[in-house]
């Protein structure tokens, strides 16, 4: 861990500003990169530094003030030495991220309204999504991720982090491995964000150490995401003869054992076992309180078959097989064939024709036909044109784009080069959110390599076609995913959408015709060119061709990144691929499309994944978030959750969205707090209608969807809340904890209760004092006999006993 500057810099050294202005340029559009670099250096944006930027550049004070307060990445106040990012993505939310946040504040004694503890060590930061949905609930302390937390275990996570810091363990970054020489066993390890968060870097280190130690005939090879995020970290051992064994949830400390198992007689393992325990000291995910489950996974095993069987890999082809940054390997797996074919023989027009015939529609959510979009740009007046890759994936609970950029950078870039060729663009930008550092690093490396090999730059592969690509880092604004807001952001403004038309295809970046495509859309392009339009249409339904990548999370046994053919039913996804809820709780609904999407009840399980079918059911395809909910999830609370998100992310430009989302949120908060007023449901409906029809951009127009769809399918739950009850027993203000007669008087709950709401009473039935209880859930979790139950608040009198 690098030493952090102190909380407050008494004298600010501003020389740094001059250096970085020289680096980023002085034009107004350099404002975001400059702010990002300033913050990387000072850890916040000191006013003196901002004023200096204005002196040195063409950036105005109004612009720097507007931009630096718009994007949530930027901080204007000094922060603690370490930042704890608490993920509030949908998956984490349904698994209790709110309780985790409360527990952290309590543990660090952070006052209401503050975000940093008194000693300036830790700063708490809510983040929309860390993209590790399968480890939910997740927090990240600086670069270390802790998953599967409970309110009770946050203290240990912090302690563990401080110990790591003391030992000065430096997190390792992934570099590309040398290619595997013939005759060697390949040990593949996932290096996607989920696997890394699951501890794969440490596992990899151990594997390498042990191979060296044993002199084994094996190499460790980093591979992209396999999609089985519920099993991270995954290790696959492929022998020289091609036999493969997969190990799931391999924990640090066990990796060495795996290597020995494959390369030494079994007897030795037994001898070494006692010595192994010493390694298990500082683990990233805490096996100290959760027994490590490691087991061999064979693809022939039934669950894995189901998980993989119904999937169809197009955008994620060769997942888990190829090293993300090995260009040779990408080419050996048909990579760059499509690009070569296009540049060699195909005219842009016939290429666009193929895409039109394939029926490819934008995977960002709205589903606009990609070929038509390209055609518009191609036939816009001659001049400068741009290609943009929209990687501003912001749905909490979705990480498709992140995974594609991390695991298949060359495929995305090949698709983008083809798109640029088709539309006649000579410059392009990949807009990637800064919350995805790994994706940015991989794309940067991949761009350098493509340039070195003649796939980018002047006269690509000897053709007359030239293209330069660069990365623009997003700074934390969900609305930047809207294409006109994306343009504003690249141009160095607040990411506020503008009225369309004109569409970016006619009047885009700097007023030039611009094609904007989503990451997944571009990743599908090479396959379509290589396999033909009909192969793609054969995969889907009549209006929705091909496949769709989803991040399957929530109350599901086997979550992860999945790619399915269009037309598959929701039930197949939840039951067959996901294996159901994985608990005794019933599958209640799926939430599709995140904050712009809606909830479909289990009775709609036969709905097909198809743009039109989902719309007809009151939902949208969205970008690919798919959260499974069980009967312990409250739909009103979920609507409140999404409205909190969109209200926070509204850019504030147009009245219906800026104020409408706020007023809707107030009503939803009242409903969840048991303070609703008569007529609230009707008011909510009316506001939803107003915001839907009157808002300027897609964010505002779709913001009411989570409300409208839950009102449509779960209106009874709203009515119950109006009467002060939460049928799912989820809304804290409407429930009460109580102890039943299963209590054996072990005092565990009383000792664990952070609010002193339970009096210590050995061998007696314990009682929760309702006026002190904060409903943090800790007592229920520590109770060894399931004696703590949650009940309806209205069924309790003031003393906590049942009426």
């Amino acid at each position: 861990m690098t030493a952090a500057p102190p909380l407050q810099d008494p004298v600010l050294d501003l020389k740094m500003v001059d250096t970085l202005v020289a680096e980023c340029g002085q034009s107004p559009d350099a404002v975001i990169p400059i702010l990002q670099k300033l913050q990387a250096h000072y850890r916040y944006l000191p006013e003196a530094a901002l004023r200096r930027v204005c002196e040195l550049t063409d950036i105005t004070p109004a612009s720097i003030a507007g931009v630096s307060t718009f994007y949530s990445q930027f901080r204007h106040k000094p922060v603690g030495r370490h930042i704890i990012s608490i993920c509030h993505g949908t998956a984490c939310h349904v698994k209790g991220s709110g309780l985790i946040q409360d527990a952290l504040s309590r543990h660090l004694k952070i006052k209401d309204g503050d975000d940093t503890d008194m000693n300036g060590v830790f700063t708490l930061k809510r983040v929309a999504c860390l993209g590790c949905c399968t480890l939910a609930p997740v927090i990240k302390i600086d670069a270390v991720t802790y998953g599967h937390l409970t309110p009770e275990t946050v203290a240990r996570a912090i302690q563990d982090f401080l110990e790591l810091e003391k030992r000065q363990v430096v997190p390792r970054h992934y570099e590309q491995a040398k290619s595997t020489p013939e005759g060697l066993t390949e040990i593949r390890i996932g290096v996607g964000s989920c696997c890394v968060a699951g501890g794969s870097q440490t596992v990899r280190q151990e594997l390498e150490d042990e191979i060296k130690n044993l002199g084994a005939t094996a190499v460790v090879k980093p591979v992209g995401c396999v999609g089985m995020c519920h099993q991270t970290p995954l290790v696959e051992i492929v022998s020289a003869t091609g036999e493969a064994v997969t190990y799931a949830k391999v924990q640090p400390g066990e990796a060495a054992q795996l290597v020995r198992q494959h390369f030494k007689p079994k007897g030795i393992i037994r001898k070494l076992r006692s010595g192994l325990t010493g390694i298990m000291e500082h683990l990233l995910t805490d096996d100290a309180w959760e027994p490590v489950s490691r087991y061999a996974l064979d693809v022939r095993d039934a669950p894995v078959c189901s998980f993989l069987g119904k999937q169809r890999r197009v955008a994620t082809e060769w997942c888990g097989d190829i090293d993300p940054l090995d260009l040779n390997e990408y080419c050996a797996h048909h990579g760059m064939e499509a690009l070569k074919a296009c540049l060699g023989a195909e005219s842009p027009d016939s290429l666009i024709q193929t895409i039109i015939q394939s029926g490819l529609r934008g995977r960002g959510g709205a589903g606009f036909p990609t070929g038509r979009k390209w055609n518009m740009v191609r036939h816009a007046p001659v001049g400068q044109k741009y290609i943009l890759c929209n990687g501003d994936e912001g749905d909490p609970g979705a990480f498709m784009d992140r995974m594609l950029l991390e695991s298949f950078p060359y495929r995305v870039l090949e698709g983008m080069i083809i798109a640029a060729y088709a539309v006649g663009a000579s410059e392009g930008i990949l807009y990637i959110r800064s919350e995805y550092p790994l994706a940015i690093r991989r794309i940067r490396d991949a761009l350098a390599k493509l340039k070195a090999h003649g796939y980018l730059g002047r006269s690509i592969l000897g053709s007359p076609f030239s293209l330069t690509l660069r990365i623009a880092e997003g700074a934390g604004a969900f609305v930047s995913g809207e294409e006109t807001a994306l343009l504003a952001s690249i141009e160095g403004q607040r990411a506020m959408p503008s009225f369309r038309p004109p569409y970016p295809a006619e009047h885009g970046l700097w007023g030039c015709p611009t094609a904007i495509n989503n990451v997944e859309t571009l990743a599908l392009v090479p396959w379509i060119i290589r396999s033909g339009a009909t192969a793609f249409t054969a995969l889907g339904t009549s209006t929705s061709a091909g496949t769709k990548v989803f991040s399957l999370t929530g109350k599901v046994q086997r979550g992860g990144l999945i790619e399915v053919p269009m037309g598959i039913t929701l039930r197949e996804i939840v039951e067959d691929i996901g294996g159901g809820t994985g608990s005794n709780k019933k599958f209640k609904a799926v939430q599709i499309g995140g904050p712009s999407g809606g909830c479909l009840p289990a009775s709609y399980g036969d709905t097909r994944v198809d743009y039109e079918a989902l719309a007809a059911a009151g939902c949208i395809m969205g970008s690919g978030g798919l959260v499974v909910l069980d009967d312990s999830d409250c739909m009103v609370e979920l609507a409140r959750y999404f409205m909190t998100f969109t209200q926070h992310e509204s850019c504030g430009k147009c009245t219906p969205c800026r104020i409408g989302t706020k007023r809707m949120l107030e009503i939803l908060e009242r409903l969840c707090a048991g303070q609703s007023q008569a007529g609230d449901i009707e008011r909510l409906e009316q506001l939803a209608h107003t915001t839907r029809t009157g808002s300027l951009c897609g964010l505002g127009r779709t913001a009411p969807n989570p409300v409208l769809s839950t009102l449509l399918h779960f209106r009874k739950e709203y009515e119950a809340h109006l009467a002060g009850r939460c049928p799912s027993l989820k809304c804290q203000a409407l429930i009460a904890y109580q102890i039943n007669n299963k209590c054996i008087g072990c005092t565990k709950c009383a000792q664990a209760c952070p609010a002193n709401a339970i009096e210590l009473a050995p061998y007696q039935l314990h009682v929760i004092q309702q006026d002190k209880c904060t409903r943090c859930d800790i007592c229920r979790q520590v109770c060894p006999t399931d004696a703590v139950e949650i009940g309806d608040k209205t069924s309790l009198d003031g003393t906590g006993s049942k009426i």
């Binding site: 006013e47 901002l50 004023r51 105005t60 004070p61 109004a62 612009s63 720097i64 003030a65 507007g66 307060t69 718009f70 604004a477 607040r494 503008s498 009225f499 038309p501 209200q647 926070h648 992310e649 509204s650 850019c651 504030g652 430009k653 147009c654 009245t655 219906p656 800026r658 104020i659 409408g660 989302t661 706020k662 007023r663 107030e666 007023q677 008011r683 009316q686 506001l687 107003t690 029809t693 009157g694 808002s695 300027l696």
Partner: protein, 518 residues
Amino acid sequence: MPNLIINGKALTVEPGTTVLEAARLAGISIPFMCSVKGLPHFTSCMVCVVQNTATGQLLPSCSAMATEGLVVETHTEAVVQARAASLNLLMSEHAGDCEAPCTTTCPAHLKIPLMIRQLVDGQPAAALATIYDTIALPAVLGQICPAPCEKACRRGRVDAPLGICSLERFAADEASYTPPPPTLPTQKRIAIIGAGPTGLASAFYLAQAGHECTIFDERAKPGGQLRYGVPNHLLPVAVLERDIQRIHLPGVHFRMNTHFGTNIALQDLKAQYDAIIIATGKTSLEILTSWGLTATSKGIQIQEHSFRTSDEKIFAGGEAVQAGHLTVRAVAHGRSLAISINQFLKGLPVTGPVRRFESRLGQIKDSESQELLKEAAPYSRTVSLAGSGAGFSCDEALRESKRCMHCDCRKAESCKLRDYMEIQMAGPLHVPPEGRKPVERNITHPTVIFEPGKCIKCGICVRITAQQGESPGLAFQNRGFDATVGVPFGDSLEAALGHSAKLCVTECPTGALSWKDS
């Protein structure tokens, strides 16, 4: 040149014309708040929406271009609803009163804070002119008004209310009054029966509008109860005379010692005059019905706002329609009568005075009181050295005037939000008043006052300061509902609004930016 159709009207416009501009050229008015000609459009308020007939979609007309073949309607039900919804949402966060509580409480609706600002500015004549806009007997009311306004004064919740009545008296006593130049005679004749406060006030405003007024009264001198009912120690005759003197405008005739019913009959008056006002004061039911008018024990029955009786030519006010002793109400009736008759004589719908939409804060928090107190002197209520019966001296009046918190809005008469709310008041969406922005005032600029709680985030001032090259200028800060307009780096408003101040204040569609002295 694109051809389009707006409300069925075919138009051809220059390429690059917005739908809003095209409609304006065609004489069709569309409400709008966030756009200004010559500035880039921003598409924020969503009040200017129109409906695309082909798709049914609502388009912001300030940003949608007039394109070939476009067909739009500007007043469909969906449009009206969407506009009302946006306006209601804007109102739901609006932190400001259109009129100060003192003004809304005053039966005559006197613009008290404006009067006080004029006194502070050392312009008592202007202050008196402000009083005369709504009150025709200022000296009288300065003496005897029970001042309901003072009960509503927000300063009363801090220490003690302003001495509004004494200030009015000061202006009436000390300032010289020049009546506005007479309008062209209309050749219309009005008979006013009763020379009490209602009759006198109505004559004053009717004469100003160019009508010929004849006041009939059975007594020897005008003034009614003010002369013959109120004891002299409460209202010296000299004070009354001064007010009456100012009502002696060209076109005002007094026919004293004329008993209505004996010397003149209603039927004759109806034949000779274009309209008749009955301001006879408290009159018995028997007499009232004998005139052939519908009446109850309380008085003559009139239509609520127009003061019209069952006879369309006859209007009535004062105690003849409503028993009670508030002189200020009787005086206010006089002005309302004049407005109704003016409408009647011009052939307009007779509605009485315009009842404007009013944003009302109601009770405010203590922290908000503190914001308003920024403009007020901290000391306690002024006591006249000359004794409680005497008026303020110049110094005392100035001292007391400085205590005013200026609760009113400086843009009450030019605020677009108020204008449009008035038109759209029957909007379908009612948002509960909670969650409005806090009342805030930035008074650091020498001439401009900035009230963020009234800002609708249209960004007009942000664009103006940028266009005019102000540095630092104004900037949007934060995002979403928390977005505000402010000065970068917390610099002063004076630094932000230099040469562009005038343009910003003029173009700001609400009272967020206004002149301090307006």
